[in-house]
């Protein structure tokens, strides 16, 4: 039997509210939570996927509507120094909790130190912040889901035929998540096709290059079936274009990573996967839900503020989204 963790005043009040005790004042207590976003610069995307910092922030704005929280937003702009400054500003603003999204290890250590000194708890997004629970993707698991889907497709549709595998994306990019995804894809494909070799087409971070790279590759692979794993959805769109321009729709299939708007489409936007378009060469994409992080993370923050101890690492529940379930995951607005 360990001793019960000591609660500070903030956690004690939150606990009262969470369990329905105490006066109305405790029940109506509103918490001040800061989100220090990774980078909201237009054109910058997150974690090698198609999501933007603005989308991530918006998910917090939307999720906060139904919770007793006042949100304060900071943009770290991908700059460790700025991230430290933002954390300091958040502390000065009297926050109850900081949600930190910063990739720099040293900056995170400094931020954790300052928060600890101020007695303010934190939640970390994607990258560890000393002493704080982390929420983020399970890149290897997500990759494995894609690999499994590709392998299953080949077994079910191309049994006994010559099958080639290829991974397309920012393969040499600096984000370690990419390697984890590629490894996961490889593991997943090998479950059904243990001897399949996966070629790599590196876009160098420019998804548009997927078109030319795949076109060239297709011309060297005549008569072969192609399993294509793209590392982001924009690369999938360009790869699809290459396949269609080369009229190879019947012997190519793509499974992507992300499930961002390039694939599921927003209001009045083209949908690459759609229940009415089940013949697309884009079989599906593995969802990362970064545009919904707020809905997952703010409830965790409330639990933390209520004095609950969270697991050290909480991961996104990744899911392969295809034409058969895309509208359940991202209902289209076209139906009103």
């Amino acid at each position: 039997m360990g001793s019960r963790p000591r609660l500070n005043r903030r956690q004690f009040l939150a606990g009262l509210a969470a369990f329905g005790f105490g006066p109305a004042r405790a029940e109506t207590r509103r918490f001040r939570i800061a989100l220090a976003d990774f980078d909201e610069t237009p054109g910058v995307t997150l974690e090698g996927l198609g999501f933007t910092g603005a989308q991530l922030r918006r998910s917090f704005e939307l999720a906060a509507r139904s919770l007793p929280v006042e949100m304060i937003y900071f943009d770290n702009a991908g700059d460790p120094t700025r991230a430290i400054g933002n954390a300091e500003a958040a502390i000065a603003a009297g926050i109850d909790l900081l949600i930190e999204y910063c990739a720099d290890r040293e900056a995170n250590a400094e931020i954790a130190h300052r928060l600890s000194t101020a007695g303010i708890p934190a939640l970390a997004l994607v990258y560890p912040l000393p002493g704080a629970p982390v929420y983020g993707p399970d890149n290897r698991a997500a990759g494995r889901i894609a690999g499994q889907a590709l392998g299953k497709f080949a077994v079910e549709n191309w049994s006994g035929e010559q099958v080639v595998g290829v991974v397309i994306g920012d393969i040499a990019g600096p984000n370690p998540a990419i390697n984890e995804r590629v490894q996961g894809i490889t593991d997943g494909v090998h479950e059904a096709l243990p001897t399949l070799q996966l070629a790599s087409l590196d876009t160098g971070g420019q998804a548009v290059r997927a078109d030319a790279l795949l076109t060239k590759f297709l011309q060297t692979q005549r008569g072969q079936r192609l399993l294509i794993a793209t590392l982001d959805d924009l690369a999938a769109v360009y790869a699809k274009n290459a396949i269609e321009m080369n009229r190879r729709q019947s012997d190519c299939i793509i499974v992507s990573q992300g499930l961002d708007q390039n694939i599921h489409g927003g209001a009045s936007e083209k949908k690459e996967i759609d229940p009415n378009n089940r013949g697309s060469v884009v079989l599906g994409s593995v969802a990362y839900y970064m545009d919904r992080y707020g809905y997952e993370i703010l409830p965790l923050a409330m639990r933390l503020l209520a004095g609950e101890k969270l697991p050290e690492h909480t991961v996104t529940q990744h899911l392969l989204v295809t034409a058969s379930n895309v509208f359940r995951e991202y209902p289209p607005f076209d139906m009103n």
Binding site: E61, L62, A63, G266, Y295, P331, D334, M335
Partner: protein, 340 residues
């Protein structure tokens, strides 16, 4: 030749849409997922059952000055539409060419072909519009009643009169008064931003602003200011379609408990988008249409009647609105006027 080509092309689109519009229904226990109708197990009419002679007579008392305020937007190319929706007119029959006139008086004439989806512009959502799986209003298993061309139950031909009292709730003024208006910079007039939740308390505050108490059979319209973006078509179509302010699921429940016949707004779905719960699609539609037979009117031009109410301090009016007896349709564009 051009017209024939266009007609053929559009015809193909129509066929394609019709084919895709027939869903592969999954059978569900409709008694478990949809509330029973308060108007009996065979009812296909819904909330307009509440528009009795007494309700219409009482509503007629709202006509005091005779001033008529339009509440519908023009239906014209360029207005915000969703996805593959379209609305096109083709001048399809005419006798204006020399020699084609009729009789010695040289009568000429023109006609149109309307190639349009029904849920465009200012329009009504009928009871066949929204369900949960194959379960629609009054626990109807719609899979049994869907054909290639229309519905065999719950079509808008079943609706009764809309000759009732209208009530405008000005959510913009409510939010301004509460000092919580977060506007969208694209709006030229004050508007609630996309994602703004309008609660029961907000609706009650809006009613109190003009000393209105809802009564059974009322038609409720909510002005959010979002229609300002509609009026800026096509420049702001993306912004207009990208989200909207609107009522919450709980507010919809409350309106249903007030036994209104319809809820309309200057938005494309009446309810807040993005919704409160990321996993629940269009809960207000389900509450109002599917569970309660209460119609939703979208893209309503509410600003003018909201302005009129602000000037006259009177937020009620006689609702002039009719729905064509189009058999088996899920909705239709309509015209609305407020008569005070």
């Amino acid at each position: 030749m051009k017209i024939a080509g266009l007609a053929a092309l559009t015809g193909m689109s129509v066929l394609s849409l019709l084919a895709s519009a027939v869903p592969a229904f999954a059978e569900a226990d409709c008694k478990a997922v949809v509330a029973p109708s308060p108007f009996g197990p065979d009812d296909q009419t819904g909330a307009t059952n509440r528009v009795t002679a007494a309700v219409t007579k009482a509503a007629a008392a709202e006509i005091q000055t005779g001033v008529v305020t339009p509440m519908a937007y023009p239906l014209v190319d360029g207005i915000p539409l969703f996805g593959s929706r379209f609305s096109k007119t083709i001048l399809s029959s005419f006798a204006t060419m020399p020699g084609a006139e009729f009789g010695k008086n040289k009568l000429s004439y023109m006609e149109d072909t309307y190639l349009s989806q029904s849920h465009v512009g200012t329009h009504i959502d009928g009871l066949g519009h929204i369900g949960i799986q194959d379960c629609y209003y009054n626990q109807t298993p719609m899979g049994k009643y869907v054909t290639q061309n229309n519905l065999k139950r719950l079509g808008i031909e079943n609706l009764k009169s809309f000759a009732t009292r209208g009530v405008i709730i000005d959510a913009v003024k409510v939010f301004q008064a509460a000092n919580k208006l977060k506007a969208n910079p694209a709006c030229k007039r004050p508007c609630l931003d996309a994602g703004t939740m309008i609660t029961q308390a907000d609706l009650e505050a809006g009613l109190k602003m003009y000393n209105v108490t809802l009564r059974e059979g009322d038609a409720v319209f909510i002005n959010t200011g979002w229609g300002d973006l509609f009026e800026q078509y096509p420049a702001q179509n993306t912004a207009y379609n990208g989200g909207e302010p609107g009522i919450t699921a709980a507010a919809a429940q409350w309106l249903a408990s007030q036994k209104v016949i319809l809820v309309g707004s200057d938005t494309w779905a009446v309810e807040v988008i993005p919704g409160e719960d990321k996993d629940i699609a269009f809960p207000v539609h389900k509450t109002l249409l599917t569970d309660n037979g209460i119609h939703i009117i979208e893209n309503v031009r509410t600003q003018l009647i909201a302005d009129a109410a602000a000037n006259s301090k009177r937020a009620t009016f006689f609702l002039s609105m009719t729905v064509p007896k189009a058999v088996g349709l899920t909705g239709t564009f309509i015209n609305i006027e407020a008569i005070q």
